[in-house]
Subunit: 332 residues, 2 copies
Amino acid sequence: MAATLKDVAARAGVSRSAVSRTFTKGASVSEKTRRKVEKAAADLGYSPNALASGLTTGRTRLIGLVSNNFHNPIFLEVFDLFTRGLQDRGLRPLIINLSGETDPTDSVRMLRQYSVDGVIVASSTAPPSFTSAFRDSNIPVVHSFGRASVTPDIHVVGVDNVECGRMAARTLADRGYRKVGFLGGPESATSTQDRAKGFLEEARRLNLTASSSYAAQYSFESGRDEMRRLLRLGPPQDAYFCGDDVLSIGALSVLHDAGFDTPANVGVIGLNDMEIAGWDNIDLTTIQQPLQQIIASSIEIVVSMLDQPDRHPEIRLFPCQIVERGTLRPLP
Amino acid sequence: MAATLKDVAARAGVSRSAVSRTFTKGASVSEKTRRKVEKAAADLGYSPNALASGLTTGRTRLIGLVSNNFHNPIFLEVFDLFTRGLQDRGLRPLIINLSGETDPTDSVRMLRQYSVDGVIVASSTAPPSFTSAFRDSNIPVVHSFGRASVTPDIHVVGVDNVECGRMAARTLADRGYRKVGFLGGPESATSTQDRAKGFLEEARRLNLTASSSYAAQYSFESGRDEMRRLLRLGPPQDAYFCGDDVLSIGALSVLHDAGFDTPANVGVIGLNDMEIAGWDNIDLTTIQQPLQQIIASSIEIVVSMLDQPDRHPEIRLFPCQIVERGTLRPLP
DNA sequence: AAATTCGTTGCAACCGGTTGCACGGACTTC
DNA sequence: GAAGTCCGTGCAACCGGTTGCAACGAATTT
């Protein structure tokens, strides 16, 4: 149906090699043949078949984008940045929706079948075994929003979640909250563990009374469920650090239903600064992750791995910052 | 690096054809060779290269998923359903993020280069010329959330937006609102045009006073901007039908800032029923599009086109329904 | 025992490109 | 004018599979 190399070669009166070379930059072709070929290609509406060329070159320009956060609005922003960033560099994202799957076998097989040039795992909850499965299959991989390890064996781009936890504790302390709580996401997620660690350590250091609890997932409903459970056990803390904006908003809605007012009765600080957090009906004080930087950096690493697959694993962490809105009282 | 057909053939002591046939269902292979081959394949961790096989069969099992709604949270749900639905059928979504692009040329080229088996355009704002570009390139295409045409030349799955508009008008009238307004998305989008048409016609029929205006995009900020503009011109209508939930929420936030209370002073009804609309801090009355059905149906059509590429274009519209929440006063 | 049928198998060509190599011609150089 | 460069080109093999065709052996029929 579509024109092939052979068709173009015939029409231009040259060999298939000549046509291939005109479309391979850096190859040696005379001005004259190039013009003939380009004319013929335009006439036939030819564009090279990326799959066939991938077969011989070993480069498909396909990048696996693996995620499981399809219920957190922040991920739409992540998705937008990744897909745009990749396609701006001539790469095509091939999506894998994990949706609860924890066994990497299938994902690895799928992406190997399509000979992706690399994989980006965009998830703060995917276990480390997941990313290593790709590396073990010799697929270049970078873990975005992953945990920084002391002995990195995989590229990780993200934030220092322990430091985020500390930052949250300091922020609450500075505003005069004394009894504070951590309301995290799933306890199995490394991001949750790190945020809890930083938060509780720093709270202790600052002589705050700190508690912690965990929601089943990073979702609005889980945030509601967990806050409801807490309120059944007794009065709320002075303020909560929630492991994610959606959890915060869920928790807030339960607090409001129960008659508590923010920030007067109880403060809440989230994490992510998703677009919705800035909406006036939400107005959530939160810790912002620098998404653009994290994603641009992830893409940069995966691109560089195309040329140097055995590049030394690297950790890139970016600083977070507080976005002041209405769910925490102002500094005294 | 990865094992190939040849490696497996050598290890199993059979020809490459035999190996290929064990992995092609419906092919004729004896139990004995099948076992030998499967053993060898398992030993080597072999899995067939989908790209190479696509080259000869003309089937890549790749489906282009084209969209431009990367700023509307509803699209995360759409995305989740599409990616899961496709991969459940062994298809892989290849994402194209249009982000404002209106010229289909590049998208068509990209997807042709990767020999996708079909394309799903998931957008209520993409112009019809966009989808036809795929069809003209002989790529099976279905337009999800598109406009139903009387003389369909492309598969369309979605809702009857004119009827949605009528339904909104009736809903407002039933609840005693007399002066009503349509606050739509971009005027160029067919979805906006249809919703406006249905709403205004029905409002007239019901002797309501109706006005209409348009936001620049389907986004929270545009909703705010437009409602701000309306309030500068004079007092608000009794109730608004907004062309989308995000517009509704933007409009609501401006109304609240201006001291209007919902549903006491002014009613708002949205469209989509995105997850957030149900959050207690939002509690938006809205018209629900049956996403699951629309998406399942879109996938079903694209799958059926794999076998019958020239299948007659079809329109599938699903009914919407009102989701009662707190931004419209109850029926008298 | 010969003929027929049938399922299984390997050969070889092909899908749409890429690329090492050798050849040919134009252009320098001595 | 002969020798040496260098650039451009085509041939042919290859990437990792698929598939039509013919051959083959076993089982069935006559």
